[in-house]
């Protein structure tokens, strides 16, 4: 059973800025704001370098992805999603994924401007969905 409802898939596909929380070696929280996409029932992100968030996931796969839905003026509770997930790191494929996401996050005919390379894919298996909106189980 997937936790990704059609409404949540639509929100992810619309290109929300995703706040990725990982855990540093000293136990403190680390937050990076990233682009995300869907691959089947998983969420994925691409990273050209083995940076701190990638190394953190290799040490501790427990992460959170959270992102806002579009704001509705005057609404008392703004909608957002909080996804608890287990992340895995796979080498390769990052540039192609980032190039695809550039079309969502920047403009339909834009190309990812970074140099081509392999990089790393982070794949998020969703364990729980929370937040405010039709995707949140309460």
């Amino acid at each position: 059973m997937t936790l990704l409802t059609p409404e949540l898939r639509d929100l992810i596909s619309s290109g929300p800025l995703a706040h990725l929380t990982t855990i540093n070696a000293d136990g403190s929280p680390q937050v990076s704001v990233i682009w995300i996409g869907l691959d089947g029932d998983d969420v994925v992100s691409g990273h050209m370098a083995r940076n701190v968030k990638v190394r953190n996931v290799e040490r501790d796969p427990r992460v959170v992805l959270s992102f806002d839905a579009p704001r509705v003026p005057g609404a008392f509770l703004a909608e957002y999603a909080v996804l608890r997930a287990t992340a895995t790191v796979t080498p390769g494929g990052a540039w192609d994924l980032l190039n695809n996401l550039t079309k969502v996050y920047t403009s339909p005919d834009a190309e990812f401007p970074g140099p081509k390379g392999d990089g790393f894919i982070l794949r998020y298996s969703i364990d729980r969905v929370g937040g405010v909106g039709p995707w949140a189980a309460h």
Copy 2:
């Protein structure tokens, strides 16, 4: 010296949804999306109950607050702020703060609909500011 530049103060005062990351007892990340305001050079938030994020801060004061700036269509890098902070919990004052923030986050003449009570204030002393935007030191 404050890390809160005028641009960052303006962004906070505009009512961004703030993603508050704390650390659970088992070392995993916990993310709540909250309202925030300014009090001098600190960021503050109000909570009517001693919920999991308040208890997490009592155990480990290392937190991150992250929030999006308004999106600019076609911009390659969307602006956002990531604030590493040390949080403290103070009893009382939550309803009044939340009532003030309701005017920012909902509408200027709205009242906080929750029952009056003391609650807790979380106060964030900012240790480092990152992200993309004029507030980010790189």
